[in-house]
């Protein structure tokens, strides 16, 4: 705290001086008055008082001394000195700051993204007492069960939020799907969600809506009079009562950003349990209270095959522990970890560049340092100066890097993430970023300053005004070590980057097991209010399929409840067969598909038949398995005609075996799948996703013209004509595969980008070092030329040094990379080895070419040496 008082004192230094003077005057005058009262004549009193007091100048000086800031003041002086000396070499400063800015920009950008997605700070009043619960192992509960738990009053209050909800928004004649959060009536009040305009949703309301900032801006033209207007959602008018601020972050985290918040309907939808805990309650206490309420729920509404009171879990909505609330956080965490490691390496390369530049500068400052030392400057003073320089560069680099961070974040925020949820990056500058940037700046200043400081120490040991050759050699050796290190680190980065590029190439070319080239997908979201039961949906689907099959260019049409690689639904349930009296409980992908599904998607039926129009409500219940699942359940036995006894005692007969394909992810292997007829066991909300086969395209389906475009148009027209309240989206399946390819694309773009950045920085480092080396050898080169060395020989001499450095770096880097990429298997498509030979060969080729290119400029300079002038120097 002392330094803090000193700093505050410093801020008011002029006032302090005056106060000191006034205080001394008061002292003297008081003494004089006292002496005069005792009868001492005025002049004598003055003299006496002064003598008793002592020298006022010394008193003031000593008082000032008490407030001196010590090393902080020295640092300020060193920084001023560094700034003055930098001002003389703007070229050096530009390269150094630019290097650091690139490294720090990339680094902090990853940090910003990671904090925005992983370390959510929800927009809520006192988020630290909000927690999410998993009850009976379920992340989401039906609305009435949530109400039941709330009525048990385990905490101050419980609210619910459902994140995965689409609504049909009808404007004029157009209807489209938009993402919404459904919340219980008390949600806004309990969570304390801040609003930009208007108010939150209130209990008992069923036709009000709060709109998100971006939706308001983009879809409602940022209309300032939006409050009180209504939006037609799912065919019903909702009154806009509030608008969220731009930086709204949900309690669900992961960058989720709903367009709308609407009230949850009582009998529809599942909500996550969010509770407001009393201040200071621990997780264990909270779990215990929730346990009591869950036992009561289990008593009154026993779970279907599970116990509500078991598998209770608790996650605070903010901070580290909030991971896992949505489940699949782990691969994401690993990926961010990888990115972070990579950007640290990029930064390391940047630091090595700056370090090398500082070393080169020391050559010109050798005299200055030697003079300082000979005048008796202590060694740590020289070190302090070195670090002041690197600190200043790091501070400048960090400032520029933060600018770059804003630019990158703005660019990345524009990327639409193709997941079936609305996600938006909102990464503003906050205290965490500021703290991280400070830490990075300090780290950089140390990383940058170590080599020059070491060198300065050696200089001070040899301490002489004359010698130059030995320290010049040490300097160049240190620089070589730095560049070798850069090359090695860069090799690792490139290896990772190329690996992910190869991964993208492989995944894009991968056979997904169904025809993505000749198929068009028409997604239709029907309103529950218009299609109250499964039968009405079935009637709609039947009619549409008939019409679709009659459209020109369409070979076949089918319907499914979801389309592979655009979503994913799996299930884990006990199944009994004739061969397993004890049920087996496999996890498998589960789909409902209509007649001609396999024909339309070009999936081979290996055995038996596919579904037909006769597999409908009332006919015997049938099922198709993929090859893996058939093998898993029946081994070598012929599965056709075999019964599957499900948990609810229904019996499904296997009528066909379909070829294996991809379902949820491109990278998956060994996924089992079960298909049931779309028209059987119809539930209320069965999704209507149509697929039509349009033969005769180029096999990639990317063409905007031709049969595809015509069919896309006629399908859209057909569906809109039939029901204008349904949200319709029509596109070739190949375009819809963005979700499946997204991880590969993101990985390739990010890691490829960072690899390129690392390469650029390392090339600058190598080029700079060679240039410096050439400069140091001007005399030698001139001599050789005078003795008749050819241009080729000179070039070879310069290139030799560069190839040695690059070669050693490459060898070290390849070894390191071989081990470093091993844990990346999890991110790669099956069949691609982490140490992919093609990727590694590319690394070697690229690095050699770039090293040569980096040597060209200095080599040309070497060739331009005029022998006579070179020899006359020094």
């Amino acid at each position: 705290m002392e330094w803090w008082r000193k700093l505050r004192h410093l801020a008011a230094s002029r006032a302090n001086e005056q106060e000191m003077e006034e205080e001394i005057r008061f002292h003297l005058e008081s003494r004089v008055a006292e002496l005069e009262a005792e009868g001492v004549p005025p002049r004598e009193a003055q003299r006496l008082a002064r003598r008793e007091f002592g020298g006022t100048v010394r008193v003031r000086e000593e008082a000032r001394e008490a407030w001196r800031l010590g090393w902080l003041a020295d640092l300020a002086a060193d920084l001023r000195h560094a700034a003055r000396s930098f001002a003389k070499s703007p070229g050096f400063v530009t390269v150094a700051v630019l290097s650091l800015a690139l490294g720090i920009g990339a680094n902090t950008a990853i940090f910003s993204i990671a904090t925005a997605f992983l370390f959510n700070r929800p927009s809520a009043r006192d988020a630290s007492t909000l927690a999410r619960f998993r009850v009976g192992g379920a992340s989401h509960l039906p609305v009435n069960y949530l109400e039941f738990l709330r009525a048990q009053k385990p905490f101050e209050d419980i609210a619910g939020v459902g994140e995965e909800r689409w609504v049909n928004w009808t404007r004029d004649a157009e209807t489209r799907r938009t993402s919404a959060f459904v919340v219980s009536g008390n949600f806004f009040d309990m969570v304390g969600v801040p609003l930009a305009m208007g108010r939150g949703l209130r209990p008992g309301e069923d036709n009000t809506v709060v709109v998100g900032h971006f939706f308001w801006q983009a879809q409602l033209n940022g209309n300032p009079d939006i409050l009180g207007r209504s939006l037609v959602l799912d065919g019903k008018p909702y009154t806009v009562v509030g608008v969220l601020p731009r930086d709204h972050r949900t309690v669900s985290g992961f960058g989720l950003s709903p367009n709308l918040y609407i009230p949850a309907e009582r009998d529809n939808g599942m909500l996550a349990v969010i509770a407001r805990l009393p201040q200071g309650m621990t997780g264990a206490e909270a779990l215990e209270r929730m346990g009591t309420a869950a036992r009561e729920l289990q008593r009154v509404h026993p779970g279907n095959g599970h116990n509500w009171a078991e598998n209770l879990r608790y996650f605070p909505v903010e901070g580290l522990e909030s991971f896992g609330a949505l489940g699949p956080g782990q691969p994401l965490l690993m990926f961010f970890g990888l990115l972070w490691a990579v950007v640290l390496l990029v930064l390391l390369i940047a630091c090595a560049n700056v370090s090398g530049l500082l070393l080169a500068r020391m050559a010109s400052r050798r005299q200055e340092i030697a003079v300082q030392l000979s005048l008796g400057a202590p060694r740590n003073r020289i070190l302090r100066q070195c670090f002041a320089e690197s600190l200043l560069l790091a501070a400048l680099g960090t400032a520029a890097g933060l600018g770059l961070n804003r630019l990158l974040i703005a660019l990345i925020a524009r990327i639409e993430i193709p997941v079936p949820l609305s996600i938006r990056l909102v990464a503003d500058v906050d205290d965490r970023l500021a703290l991280y940037a400070c830490a990075i700046a300090l780290l950089c200043s140390v990383a940058v300053g170590v080599a020059p400081a070491l060198h300065a120490l050696r200089e001070s040991v040899l301490s002489g005004l004359k010698q130059s050759e030995r320290t010049a050699g040490s300097r160049q050796r240190l620089r070589r070590v730095l560049v070798v290190g850069q090359m090695a680190v860069c090799t690792v980065l490139l290896a990772t980057g190329f690996l992910f590029l190869r991964n993208l190439q492989e995944s894009a070319a991968m056979d997904v097991g169904f025809d993505t080239g000749n198929t068009v997908w028409a997604s239709v979201r029907l309103l529950d209010s218009r299609y109250r039961d499964g039968e009405s949906r079935a009637a709609f689907a039947r009619e549409m399929l008939d019409e679709m099959q009659r459209l020109p260019g369409v070979e076949s049409a089918t319907v499914a409840n979801w389309i592979p690689l655009t979503d994913g639904r799996s299930r884990r349930t006990p199944i009994r067969t004739a061969f397993s009296p004890d049920p087996v409980t496999p996890r498998f992908t589960w789909m409902h598909v209509g007649p001609r599904y396999f024909e339309t998607l070009g999936i081979a039926i290996r055995q038996g038949r596919e579904f037909s129009e006769f597999d409908r409500e009332g006919s015997s219940m049938v099922v198709i398995l993929n090859e893996r699942m058939a093998k898993h359940l029946f081994g070598e036995v012929d599965p056709i005609g075999q019964p599957l006894r499900m948990r609810d005692e229904t019996v499904l007969t296997v009528v066909g075996v379909a070829a294996n394909s991809k379902y949820g992810m491109i990278g998956e292997t060994g996924e089992m799948a079960m298909y049931e007829p779309w028209f059987q066991k119809l539930d209320e909300g069965r999704a209507t996703e149509f697929v039509v086969r349009v033969p005769g395209s180029d096999g990639r389906g990317n063409r905007a013209s031709g049969p595809h475009a015509a069919v896309v148009e006629s399908l859209r027209a057909l569906l809109l004509r039939r029901d204008s309240s349904a949200a319709v989206e029509v596109k070739p399946i190949s375009q819809a595969l963005g979700l499946a390819l997204f991880p590969s694309r993101a990985g390739a773009a990010l890691l490829g980008g960072f690899g390129a950045l690392g390469l650029l920085l390392a090339a600058v480092g190598l080029g700079g070092m060679i240039a410096y080396s050439v400069q140091g050898r001007t005399k030698e080169i001139g001599l050789r030329m005078a003795m008749g060395a050819s241009a080729g020989a000179i070039f070879a001499m310069v290139a030799r040094e560069a190839s040695w450095i690059a070669g050693i770096g490459l060898a070290l880097g390849l070894t390191a990379a071989f081990f470093a990429v091993q844990p990346l298997t999890a991110f790669l498509v099956p069949g691609l080895a982490p140490a992919d030979p093609l990727a590694f060969s590319l690394v070697v080729a690229v690095l050699l070419v770039v090293s040569l290119a980096a040597t060209l400029a200095p080599a040309r300079k070497a060739l331009g040496v005029e022998p006579l002038r070179a020899l006359r120097e020094e």
């Binding site: 002392e2 004192h9 006034e22 205080e23 008081s30 008793e52 002592g54 008082a63 008490a66 407030w67």
Partner: protein, 110 residues
Amino acid sequence: VNPGNPELLPGTLYLLVLRSLAGGPLHGYAIAKRIKQASADVLEVEEGSLYPALNRMLVKGWLKAEWGISENNRRARFYSLTAEGQAQLQQETAAFDRMVDAIRLVLRTA
């Protein structure tokens, strides 16, 4: 005088200032008078050296200073003890007593 002055036991000036302020806020001149009286004019200090010591004690956070009106109606800077200063006073008094006891003991046995 600074605390290293051989005429004064180390830290004695601090202790004297802390003791004089134990009764309530005083301005610099009053502190100087208090010290003189308390030490029965035995400790001859240049009064001016009180002020650097006061500043050092402000830095340490033992004292705080505020401008106020003196008994003769003049603007004066009043010093008072902070909580830290109180604690320091207790500690130094105890330490000082122990030291004086030790010196007495040595003198008696010698």
